[in-house]
Amino acid sequence: MDYSNFIIMNHELSLVVVLVALLLADLFGKNKRIFQFFAMGLFLVHTVLGFTHWNIGEASAFSGMYVTSEIHVLVKNILNIGTLIVFIFAFYWNENKNKNQVGEFYFLTLSTLLGMYFMVSAEHFLLFYIGLETASIPMATLVAFNKNKKESAEAAAKYILTAAFSSAVMLFGISLMYGACGSLYYGDILIKFQSTPLHIMALIFMFAGIGFKISLVPFHLWTADTYEGAPTSVTAYLSVISKGAAAFALLCIMIKAFANYPGTWQTFLWWIIVITITIGNLFALRQKNMKRFLAFSSISQAGYIMLGVIAGTPQGMAAMVYYVFIYLFTNLAAFGVISAIENKSDKLTMDDYNGLYSTNPKLSFVMMLAMFSLGGIPPFAGFFSKFFIFAAAAEQGQYLLVFIALLNTIISLCYYLWVVKAMFINKSENPIPTFNSDNMTKIGLIICTVAMIILGFISPIYDKIIAISFGM
């Protein structure tokens, strides 16, 4: 028994320290504002520290149950950055509408983040399962945080029930996998896995559970309802951080455990990607509620993310991580604007956004950038990420898939442009009045905007990611 194994879990340990500190601070601190600054400062320190963990390099602990490498560190750092931005956007909401549960908000969010760390770093299905559950069960309570609204409770109920259901399904898959392979270490499965029906069935059941987290069709149905009902900050967190972590974990599993038989899973993943993108887009077309709209948009984005998985190459992994990285800023910018508006005026539907440009030009501008970036319009960062992920898929000869995905971007562009149209072109009798966002929101929006504009041009980021990626 060598407990020094814990030492290499830098991220996890430092996050645990943050968690404990927050628990204590929440216990003794009275002033919520100071507490928030403390929490964010602490988390900022954690985030910054995260960047110093590069030097660990490739290492595995607990006899191969936990693994870390530069790409894992990077992914965790990306998750940290995302979470930090979510906190920034949540500041105002916490201060005014969530006064009584500020400490819990931070604690629960960070514990789900810890779960995601485990998910990402797991090399064993048990740890993966625990991580997944840590990332989803407390999330259900976060979804229910909005105490004034029925929708919040409903969303939470739907979320927890489907989450439990999906985890049961996944477990069933894992159990069969255990039965078929005799071990649940990824490395062992890689050796034992064969293309027998049982193996494949186990794989699919297990895949469904992760697909639920990434909200792939047909495991996506909870997404829109939960996103709509949850507090906007939580929605943002769900749509970016949780999804990104799960996607990366899935890719790791596929590469590490099932790389010997890629044909078995690429076939069904191909179809899942196609229907995910298409269904996501078709539903997004009809949405009027901005959060719900972004929910469906994020479903179709999940389909694009999966292109990196289906490629399964280092290129695919790099493209996927990069995609998530860009997607984080983009989607958070959109949610930032939405929550800024929701906080000030409680308006959430697209029609309310009519004429927004005339009253709140800056917010509209950010929103427009976010929409363009989501739609993959250059020169914004979304274009680059989309291009690279398509390139990764095309490299594996998935031209048809790329083509279908690209045709779908037409539909997606259509609804992204509708938002732009609402803000810029449509006229409104009573537009949302001009208001000043709080400073934290401003900071968050500025970060996101700058990121959206310049990230694509900074090529070292991608080159660095590809250098540390691995694949089949």
Binding site: Q315, A318, F372, I377, P378, P379, F383, F387, F388, F390, A391, A394, E395, Y399, V402, F403, L406, L407, T409, I410, L413, C414, L417, V420, K421, F424, I425, S459, Y462, D463, I466
Partner: protein, 504 residues
């Protein structure tokens, strides 16, 4: 610094300046735009002169003024620029259209600042596309040029602008979906044994040649050539992917129509030529007939459709379909003369369609109608505009001494040089379009410019004002200059074409 980068940097600087100016100071914004526009024009003129001088001095490199900065190492993406005769011609065209577009846009009063910002973004896309030698940056600029159209039409347009803007954007994006797959195909499959992946057009072309020499399988070309060609063809208004064009042009504000029909549609032709045909010559050779049929239909079909339209902009849009069809048609003939003609036609059509849209915009601004049935006898009321309209019309129907003739004749003669009977029969069919063109041009001229004044309200209208005059006279000057002394331009373009023709 490379002179070519100026074409992107100047508009960027202009954007930055305008971004900082208060939106209410419209005259200042306009001044910045004019100065910047002239700077661009001067740069392209200087570039042309330098280019010709370099060629004169015997510089036989395929592209001149090349520069390459590594950008994404992983994909071997470079910011690679360079021009040959064709790109120089297109840059010159763009500069002329941009500066005239600026002057035409002087009358924009609503959200001037935003308008010009989008306008500049559009021109960055256009310029960037023409200077790029790297497929990635090319595609990037291509898409940069597409999206501002949505807002420019949606916000400053007229008529059913929202529908048109959406249709235009989505259809062009559809085109770029085809295109992107094509680019990936080219990128991954053009590598010979032992070669490395590259986005650089020149290198890809060399790779493809090597592949052919190695006797490698070239079946990939037969999949990705059509994709790429259709992708660019959508923007080039190729039948049956042209329907965004009438609605889009009709709804767009004047300067945007100008820039779009004048330059942006040329991206399609240029791309077909530079990407699809240059990089996949085998497939181009074998599959050209399919597209010859389609573009041949475009040519005649557009012309016939234009004959019965009643909206001025629709007429011009369909005429653009016909003329741009001719561009692609000539490109597919794949000999030097025809391709030179195609590029000449791009330049010529760019100029005259810009002129047309400018004039239509000005007339519309005065009469508030574009329905030709509601106008008549405007020649008496606004002689300058109307004379210019006649000149534009004459250029469009290919009057010698104006650019249209040079282009069309080069196309017809060149295309007819094709040794295959099938192609020549299509050329003969294409020739018929010159009559139909005359029919619809004269129909408009006769209806709205000549004859008695239809609406007495129109009698009190004023003629062109100074900035409008600058715009239209510049364009007419360019049209006439090319029409009267075409040799230098034709030679310059032919020099660029030669490198490609030898691949077929």
């Amino acid at each position: 610094m490379n002179i070519l980068s100026l074409f992107v940097i100047i508009p960027l600087i202009m954007m930055a300046i305008i971004f900082c100016i208060d939106g209410e100071k419209k005259s200042m914004i306009r001044m910045v735009m004019s100065i910047g526009g002239f700077a661009l024009l001067a740069t392209s003129a200087y570039l042309t002169v330098e280019y010709l001088a370099a060629r004169e001095a015997g510089d036989m490199a395929e592209f001149l003024f090349t520069d390459s900065i590594l950008w994404y190492e992983t994909f071997n993406i470079h910011y690679a620029v360079g021009v040959d005769g064709v790109s120089v011609a297109m840059l010159l065209l763009s500069s002329i259209v941009v500066i005239t577009g600026v002057f035409v846009s002087y009358s924009i009063e609503e959200q001037t600042k935003e308008y010009f910002l989008w306008f500049l973004l559009l021109s960055i896309g256009v310029y960037g596309f023409f200077i790029s030698l790297d497929l990635f940056t090319m595609f990037l600029f291509y898409e940069v040029a597409l999206i501002p159209m949505y807002l420019l039409i949606g916000l400053w347009g007229s008529g059913k602008k929202e529908y048109s803007a959406m249709k235009l954007t989505l259809m062009l994006m559809g085109g770029s979906a085809f295109l992107m797959v094509g680019i990936f195909g080219i990128y991954y499959l053009s590598v010979p044994k032992g070669g490395s992946l590259t986005f650089n057009i020149q290198e890809i072309a060399a790779n493809v040649t090597t592949l052919t020499e190695q006797g490698a399988d070239n079946s990939w070309q037969y999949i990705f050539f059509p994709l790429t060609f259709v992708g660019f063809g959508v923007l080039g208004a190729m039948f049956p992917f042209h329907t965004w064009s009438p609605d889009g042009h009709a709804s767009a504000p004047t300067a945007v129509s100008m820039l779009h029909a004048g330059v942006l549609m040329k991206l399609g032709g240029y791309g077909c030529f530079r990407v699809a045909m240059y990089l996949m010559p085998d497939a181009a050779n074998d599959l050209a007939w399919i597209f010859i049929v389609l573009t041949g239909i475009s040519v005649v079909y557009g012309a016939y459709s234009a004959c019965v339209q009643t909206d001025l902009k629709y007429i011009n849009a369909y005429s653009s379909v016909s003329h741009c069809g001719l561009v692609l048609f000539a490109l597919l003939m794949m000999n030097k003369t025809a391709m030179t003609g195609a590029i000449l036609q791009m330049v010529s059509h760019g100029l005259m369609t810009a002129l047309f849209f400018a004039l239509i915009g000005m007339i519309y601004g005065r009469t508030h109608t574009r329905d030709i049935r509601e106008m008549g006898g405007l020649m008496k009321v606004m002689p300058v505009l109307c004379v210019c309209y006649v000149i534009a019309g004459l250029a469009s129907l290919g009057l010698p001494g104006l650019s249209g003739f040079v282009a069309e004749m080069t196309i017809f003669v060149g295309a007819f040089e094709h040794e295959d009977m099938f192609h020549r029969v299509f050329v003969i069919l294409g020739c018929t379009s010159i009559v139909i063109t005359a029919v619809y041009i004269l129909r408009v001229v006769g209806k709205i410019l000549f004859g008695p004044i239809q609406d007495e309200h129109h009698a009190a209208l004023t003629d062109a004002i100074w900035y409008e005059k600058i715009a239209i006279f510049t364009l007419i000057f360019a049209i006439a200059a090319i029409g009267m002394a075409p040799l230098w331009l034709s030679n310059m373009i032919a020099g660029g074409i030669e490198n490609i023709v030898k691949l077929f």
